[in-house]
């Protein structure tokens, strides 16, 4: 895992103080991040600031002469779980981000493999995903004044009124098998749980309907939709101790940064809501 390439102090939101935001990470990575000296963090932050301040001249200087044919549009990978079907999300984003070559992934392993075999210029996903892939955020999504959200634990009746020890907890596969296990473990604050991964948000409810999990975790913002769709006696417990970063846009290719940022900042309200944010700001 590469070190985090983000200036933790650069957020411009009053409500998004990184000091009390746990970007939920794999345990091993959290440990590594915590253990990193402040000086190292500053170096990473400084590097990022430098990139942000003047990526174009740097990139231009390193690039060969522009070929006569038009350059290929920057490649954007999207791995984001929303209310929309992946195909619909891809269709909309292709239309709304016309200067980008958009690919939406429905499964983490496909996304992870593509990141290796054909690295993109940019990635749209939750903060923890960008961190795990060592992609520096160029834009942070905000909902109101917040750049984070909480998750909630849903269960049927009194299934998990007591300890979560030994329980099966369902979750969307946000970060791959091991990292999603760590993510959920951290969210619920119990170490000996069994995480059942699903590939889509809409599959969380069937886990409860079919008795395949004792509980499921989902963004608190998605809970209302789930409770409205089901007649199960659902109990909701907000896991407020952990704040999970909202979707962000990470850019790998400094040369494409300006174009990518401008494309996202031009998105209309409906498309932003589809992505689970209200607006995009520089981190």
């Amino acid at each position: 895992m590469k070190p985090r390439q983000q200036n933790d102090d650069s957020d411009d939101s009053d409500d998004s103080d990184d000091s009390d935001i746990m970007r939920v990470l794999p345990t091993s990575d959290r440990r590594r991040t915590k253990g990193r000296a402040a000086g190292q963090r500053n170096i990473v932050g400084a590097l990022l600031l430098a990139l942000c301040a003047g990526p174009m001249p740097l990139a231009s200087a390193q690039l060969p002469a522009r070929p006569e044919t038009a350059p290929a549009p920057p490649l954007l990978y999207v791995y984001l779980h929303t209310d929309s079907k992946f195909a619909e999300l891809e269709r909309v984003l292709k239309g709304k981000l016309p200067a980008l070559n958009v690919t939406v992934f429905g499964r983490f392993r496909d996304f992870e493999e593509a990141m290796t075999t054909r690295p993109p210029d940019a990635v749209l996903g939750i903060g923890a995903l960008l961190f795990s892939q060592a992609v520096p955020p160029a834009l942070q999504g905000f909902r109101g004044t917040l750049d984070w959200e909480t998750y909630s634990l849903l269960s049927v009746g009194d299934t998990i009124d007591g300890s979560l020890s030994g329980k099966a907890i369902g979750a969307v596969d946000l970060l791959g098998r091991a990292a999603t296990q760590d993510f959920v473990t951290h969210l619920v604050g119990a170490t000996d749980i069994k995480v059942k991964r699903v590939t889509k948000m809409e599959d969380l409810l069937p886990l409860l309907q079919l008795g395949a999990a004792d509980g499921v975790v989902a963004p608190t913002a998605a809970v209302r939709d789930m409770t409205e769709r089901s007649r199960l006696p659902l109990r909701v417990r907000e896991l407020g101790a952990t704040r999970v970063k909202l979707p962000a846009v990470g850019v790998n290719n400094p040369a494409a940064r300006e174009l990518i940022v401008s494309q996202f900042r031009a998105l209309d309200g409906a498309t932003n809501r589809m992505l689970g944010v209200d607006a995009w700001r520089l981190p």
């Binding site: 929309s84 079907k85 195909a87 392993r109 098998r177 699903v198 809409e202 069937p206 395949a212």
Partner: protein
């Protein structure tokens, strides 16, 4: 990827093949989603030292390859995977030999024919008083696994049949008319299956109204069952099982089902996408397993097996969690009303 015998296409019941690709429920009627793009065949990579081997035994057809693709994708980081294609020429001996010589820690068994071969492997081991538990199996893409499972020790798996409750709740998400009572016609062999579905549906406050027909029903019996559903307390939807005896082909569908189903004035839920098509114009709403997600769910069971030192004892059979929906939107809009935002919840729309 190696082949245990000569390739033959997946056998489909003739009548069903006329309507769609169907995956069997019960003895032979397999009902697969019609629009599965044939994935490119990928050769198995060479073995790596220290990686346990997972063998995948499956028929050579697009639906199975779709499941295999995501299965392998999920597993390949942690395990080596080898694929053995199984067909009608595969014998119990050749299957057993392939399994025993593979050195596999586990085998993923797809299709009922392959289960039969795996049971042959287990029987031979038992007869020869072989030591150790043998190679455990994770079963996928097999019909009525819950019924078969007690006869297949050291195995787990994912059933193929979409639970009724998943379909009913999906329908309730998109139509304005209520979905509180759902009618279903079934043969005696499906009684236990129906009872399990009844219990699951009750959790979502949906009542399953079951009408039994004989083991080998003719069109009159189906017509009578539909009339019974019509004359009793009104039902809000009709659920048509993927039973090859109840869906004996296009003509049977026409003569036994169509008029009576239409008279119910309720959405018809089917398990075959093709039955919702413009041509068939029978089902209002189809709910079929999401084959990609099925591969992931199967892979999760392999991981669980590995965590339990390759013993499947105590790992329950799972129901498929993820589904794909196909809806005749025009009919729903005209007859039952379309909920706001419903289109977002439908994977494939038939106008």
């Amino acid at each position: 990827m190696s082949r245990l015998a000569t390739w033959r296409p997946l056998r489909l019941c003739t009548a069903v093949a006329a309507m769609a690709a169907i995956l069997p429920l019960g003895g032979c009627a397999h009902v697969f989603p019609a629009a599965v793009a044939p994935p490119a065949l990928t050769a198995d990579p060479p073995r790596r030292p220290g990686k346990p081997l997972v063998l995948v035994a499956m028929p050579d057809s697009p639906s199975f390859h779709a499941v295999r693709r995501t299965l392998v994708n999920e597993l390949k980081k942690d395990f080596d995977v080898q694929t053995q294609l199984v067909d009608t020429q595969t014998t119990a001996d050749s299957f057993r030999a392939a399994l025993e010589h593979s050195g596999a820690a586990a085998v993923v068994v797809m299709d009922n024919r392959t289960i039969k071969l795996y049971r042959g492997y287990q029987a031979t081991r038992a007869a020869s008083a072989a030591t150790g538990p043998g190679i455990p199996a994770v079963v996928a893409m097999s019909s009525f696994l819950e019924e078969i499972h007690p006869q297949v020790p050291n195995s787990t798996g994912v059933t193929y049949e979409v639970p009724g409750v998943s379909a009913f709740v999906r329908l309730r998400d998109i139509v304005k008319t209520p979905v509180r009572r759902v009618g279903v016609i079934h043969r005696p062999v499906f009684r236990d299956f129906i009872e399990r579905q009844r219990a699951l549906a009750a959790k979502e406050q949906i009542e399953l109204v079951a009408v039994a027909v004989s083991a080998d029903p003719d069109r009159r019996e189906v017509q009578a069952a539909l009339r019974k559903l019509k004359t009793g307390p009104p039902i809000d939807a009709l659920w048509v099982l993927n039973d090859n005896r109840l869906l004996q082909g296009a003509e049977f569908l026409e003569t036994a089902w169509r008029t009576g189903a239409a008279a119910l004035d309720a959405p018809v839920i089917v398990g075959v996408a093709a039955l919702v098509s413009e041509e068939a114009h029978f089902g209002t709403f189809a709910v079929v397993p999401d084959l990609d997600a099925l591969g992931v769910q199967t892979a999760n069971l392999v991981f669980e097996l590995a965590e339990r030192q390759w013993s499947a004892e105590g790992i329950p059979v799972e129901l498929p969690v993820s589904t794909v929906t196909v809806a005749n939107i025009r009919e729903i809009r005209l007859r039952f009303g379309l909920r706001e935002g419903a289109l977002q919840r439908i994977d494939r729309v038939v106008e």
